[in-house]
């Protein structure tokens, strides 16, 4: 803790922004929160967290208690007697899994999700998944990953989940090629991208995670991997380990980011710049018309990001370059320099970039900076509002369709709305 600025680390290249690393108290979800959107996307998957009452409570709070259908996630809550011996603990887990699968015969894949408690007691979920796979072979696929708060922050839970899927993907026959888009996208966005790739003559295109685990995309040395989300470093590297190659691109937020993202694919497929321009021109024009509405409220306004989803850097780039906002501080929980290389190049020199968190000090800086808008988690939003700071909750950014040309204006709107509202209110 203390001012643990573990030195000033310069990112590759001199013109790139300087990153200040911080350690201390955090204010973030752990990776379990990813289950909230993953279970909506993968429609035949069930997520069984093996953890404590805290984990169950976190999931429920992150999801909101508004779900009235039976959710496709649950927690196997450890009790005192489970801590007495691991043998019994495993037997108990088998019993709970049987109970889940009996209740939900429609489940194709069951994820056993590790938590802090399961890790600390060294409950080996990989072994358990193997054992249970033997029992349910041919009926249900059983996989495991850890989303514990000891190792994962918020969106890293999705990375851990997708990484667990990589070994399951069928082999892409040698000599064939395909594009694999990584990261959970709302179906509507996925369909838009699929149409764009088709028009560009790029294919076959697959998405991970799939909508159903019966539709696993193939993976092999002919696979080009394109990341739709910036927080999937482990998954990307697991794909590389199976021979796939990673395309470097900015992330598809805003017109500029989306164009750069598509360009990376066209270059890999040998599609010309003229084709790219022709195919994307109408969508870019639409995006720009849409953005024009919001630029008036956003241009010149100062924004700070508290570290949360790892989307901070691409979003900061979009808000600055396409909406005219001024960046005060961009915090990110974890900075993957390789995956962020293209984005970092688009950030202004001298921007204050922080990695990790020391909450109280960060809030001190925020109070001093008094930006027009602060992007933060749900726990902090109202307290900051009550201090007269306008906020945008970051969780919406992972729940709402925000990628691609046709969502660029919606993305800008998410940031413009709190400012417009503040301008309206006279109470």
């Amino acid at each position: 803790m203390s001012v643990q600025q573990l030195g000033r680390v310069s990112a590759a290249g001199d013109a790139l922004p300087v990153v200040v690393r911080e350690r201390g108290q955090r204010q973030v979800f752990c990776g379990l929160a990813g289950i909230v959107w993953l279970h909506r996307k993968i429609q035949d998957a069930f997520f069984l967290v093996v953890g404590s009452r805290t984990c169950a409570h976190l999931l429920q709070s992150a999801a909101g208690v508004m779900i009235f259908a039976e959710p496709r996630f649950a927690t196997a809550i450890l009790h005192e007697r489970d801590l007495a011996g691991l043998a019994d603990c495993n037997a108990e887990l088998d019993r709970v899994v049987a109970e889940v699968l009996e209740r939900r015969p429609d489940i194709g894949t069951l994820f056993l999700v590790g938590s802090c408690p399961s890790e600390v007691i060294k409950l080996d979920l990989a072994k358990a998944a193997e054992r249970l796979s033997g029992v349910y072979r041919g009926r249900v696929r059983i996989l495991d990953y850890s989303a514990s708060g000891l190792e994962t922050t918020f969106t890293q839970g999705e990375d851990a989940c997708l990484k667990a899927l990589v070994p399951e993907l069928p082999q892409l026959p040698s000599g064939e090629r395909s594009l694999l888009v990584l990261g959970t996208l709302p179906d509507v966005v996925e369909d838009q991208f699929a149409r764009l790739f088709a028009e560009l003559g790029i294919g076959p295109v697959h998405f991970l995670p799939p909508r159903r685990t019966t539709e696993f995309p193939p993976l092999g040395s002919g696979t080009k991997v394109l990341l739709a989300q910036p927080f999937l470093g482990e998954t990307a590297r697991a794909c590389e380990a199976r021979g796939a190659s990673l395309l470097t691109a900015p992330y598809p937020f805003g017109a500029e980011g989306t164009l750069g993202w598509l360009r990376a694919a066209t270059e890999a497929w040998g599609v010309t710049g003229e084709v790219l321009d022709a195919v994307t021109a109408p969508a870019i024009a639409r995006a720009q018309r849409g953005l024009a509405h919001h630029r008036a409220s956003l241009a010149g306004k100062r924004i700070s990001f508290l570290p949360d989803s790892q989307l901070e850097i691409p979003l900061a780039r979009f808000l600055r370059r396409e909406c005219g906002m001024e960046l005060v501080e961009v915090g990110t929980p974890f900075l993957d320099r390789q995956l962020m290389a293209e984005e970092m190049r688009l950030l202004p020199e001298g921007v204050r970039l922080t990695e990790g968190q020391d909450l109280e000090r960060q809030l001190d800086r925020l109070r001093e900076d008094r930006p027009d808008l602060t992007v933060c988690g749900l726990g902090l939003a109202n307290p900051l509002e009550s201090e007269g700071l306008r906020t945008k909750w970051s969780i919406e950014l992972v729940f709402t369709p925000v990628h691609g040309f046709d969502q660029a204006a919606d993305l800008a709107e998410l940031f413009a709305r709190p400012l417009r509202r503040a301008a309206l209110l006279r109470v």
Partner: protein, 535 residues
């Protein structure tokens, strides 16, 4: 291991947070990994608190395990003390820290801070939220007041004749159900019989306030779930009697006043029927006749469940068809209550069991928590929320107590609202042949939205924690895809039944037919079923 989809209570450290978040001048250092910081949003989003709970999380990570987690505790404690300058510091562990056994309490105590440092034991694998709140409040009061406990056998001085009696209100907390307004209402109620409120705790209290607790003549245990241990200890150590009646409902409020009168030695007769108490007359007015015998299923914390049952039976003329609680520590009260109404108590923290019971009972009204709101929505049963856990819409901006005479007024409105207004019901019956009154016409308050089909179940999944709930009144469930067949005349007859009960009549008849092994439902079966279900 217990399979849990939704839970009524969080872990015990959430209970501890409810106590410190209620107070001023205290701070909690919680030894916990980063993800446990989600708990802040319960307070800032659900209750819309304008400040963060006074909690510092050590936020330890994998790389610190086995190494310097203990050091991290000390740094966190030191920094929290420096920054927040609390007058009392509490130290506790969440589930993961309990496993690594750093003894953060002992570490913090060893630091020689100039304020009391209390170490909390919050067994995360055995206990839950309410227990944690109850225990934390008790440890806090005991920790501060122990040095002031009079020697055994020394009785408190009698109240001087010229001083009004004083009471402490113990138990209201952050995230509790309507605590803010209950405190105000009970304060008014006590004022009406000449009793002053001395200390309210933990809600709004400082450590110094806790030290003044023994100066009052008696304690009011407003919420036994959080304060019964504390009240018991104060009774034993300081000879302060406890008023145990929880004043929810007219009868209970009058009993409460009687108990206060007895303990304080004052006459309370004049306060027992204030003109602002409208609920008894509303309940007696003729339009309320239709409420008679409405079948109610209650599931809540023990205090609110028991109070609701009495109100239902004695003050609204409902029939209690089921009662239960998730608060195992208080199961006995609910069991006794269930016996009184001749129903089977349901003691569980598994909402699926509650849903199963509700499905079997097919009540006409459900009184419960946020969880029952969803169960009721799925079953198409009207519902009102009476207890924690609750959601953002259950922290209303307006004054809406549950306790005292105004609380009874509020409850009358909120419970009766989801049921159809009597007069309206008569009108609909009278005009049921009228072409404008048909199934597809929506109730006046619902606007045009509900006439069209509602989003499919699950349509509201993954809304964020702060989104408001849907309207409390819900569309009826679809008719069962049953195997029994309806004869044409029976179908005709069914159409003559007012539409707002038609769905239920259909369901009941089909259930009756299935139970009796009847394949074709005739007009006869319809009326047999009606007789069978007694309505």
């Amino acid at each position: 291991m217990q399979l849990t989809l939704w839970s009524y209570e969080g872990p015990p450290h959430i209970g501890a947070m409810r106590i410190v978040a209620s107070m001023e001048g205290v701070h909690l250092v919680l030894h916990a990994p980063q993800g446990d910081t989600y708990a802040d949003l319960l307070f800032t989003m659900i209750e819309r608190r304008a400040t963060r709970p006074p909690v510092t999380y050590t936020s330890f990570q994998a790389r610190e395990l086995g190494g310097d987690t203990a050091e991290l505790v000390k740094t966190s404690v030191g920094e929290a003390f420096e920054r927040f300058k609390p007058r009392v510091l509490l130290v506790g562990e969440a589930c993961t820290a309990e496993l690594i056994q750093d003894q953060p309490g002992a570490l913090a105590r060893g630091m020689g801070l100039p304020v009391p440092v209390l170490s909390l034991e919050l067994p995360a694998y055995a206990r839950k939220e309410c227990w944690g709140a109850n225990e934390t409040f008790y440890q806090l009061v005991r920790g501060l007041l122990k040095p002031r406990v009079p020697e055994a056998g020394r009785h408190p001085e009698p109240r001087p004749a010229d001083r009004r009696p004083r009471a402490n209100l113990l138990g209201p907390t952050a995230l509790g159900f309507r605590c803010r307004d209950d405190v105000e209402e009970v304060t008014r109620l006590l004022a009406s019989v000449g009793v002053d409120v001395h200390v309210v705790a933990p809600l709004g209290a400082t450590p110094e306030d806790l030290l003044r607790i023994p100066e009052a003549d008696f304690n009011v245990c407003l919420y036994p779930e959080t304060a019964d241990q504390t009240c018991l200890w104060l009774e034993r150590m300081f000879g302060q009697p406890t008023v145990k009646t929880v004043p929810i409902g007219i009868g209970a409020t009058r009993d409460f006043l009687d108990e206060v009168g007895r303990i304080a030695g004052i006459d309370v007769t004049d306060a027992k029927s204030p003109i602002s108490s409208r609920m008894p007359w509303y309940s007696r007015s003729v339009d309320s006749t239709y409420l008679t015998g409405k079948r109610v299923f209650i599931f809540a914390d023990a205090t609110h469940a028991v109070a609701a049952a009495r109100m239902c039976a004695e003050e609204l003329g409902f029939t209690v068809v089921g009662i239960g609680t998730y608060a195992r520590e208080f199961a006995r009260d609910v069991r006794e209550c269930a016996k009184r109404y001749g129903v089977e108590p349901l003691i569980t923290d598994d909402y699926l069991e509650v849903e199963k019971r509700a499905t079997e009972l097919q009540p006409e009204l459900m009184l419960g928590t946020q969880m029952e709101r969803h169960i009721a929505k799925r079953l198409g049963i009207p519902c009102a929320v009476i207890s924690a856990p609750v959601h953002v819409q259950d922290f209303p901006a307006r004054y809406a107590p549950q306790m005292g005479f105004e609380g009874a007024n509020v409850i009358f409105d909120t419970w009766v609202h989801p049921l159809m207004m009597g007069l309206e019901e008569h009108l609909i019956t009278m005009f049921r042949e009228d072409f404008e009154f048909h199934d597809a016409a929506t109730a006046s308050h619902l606007g045009s939205r509900v006439g069209t089909s509602r989003p499919a179940e699950g349509g509201s999944e993954s809304q964020s924690a702060a989104e408001p709930a849907d309207s409390p009144v819900d569309s009826p469930v679809q008719a069962d895809a049953s195997t029994v067949i309806w004869a044409a005349e029976a179908e005709q007859e069914l159409k003559k039944i007012p539409f707002f009960v038609r769905g239920k009549a259909r369901r009941n008849t089909e259930r009756f037919a299935a139970e009796q092994g009847i394949q074709t439902i005739t007009v006869e079966t319809l009326y047999d079923a009606k007789a069978h279900f007694g309505r």
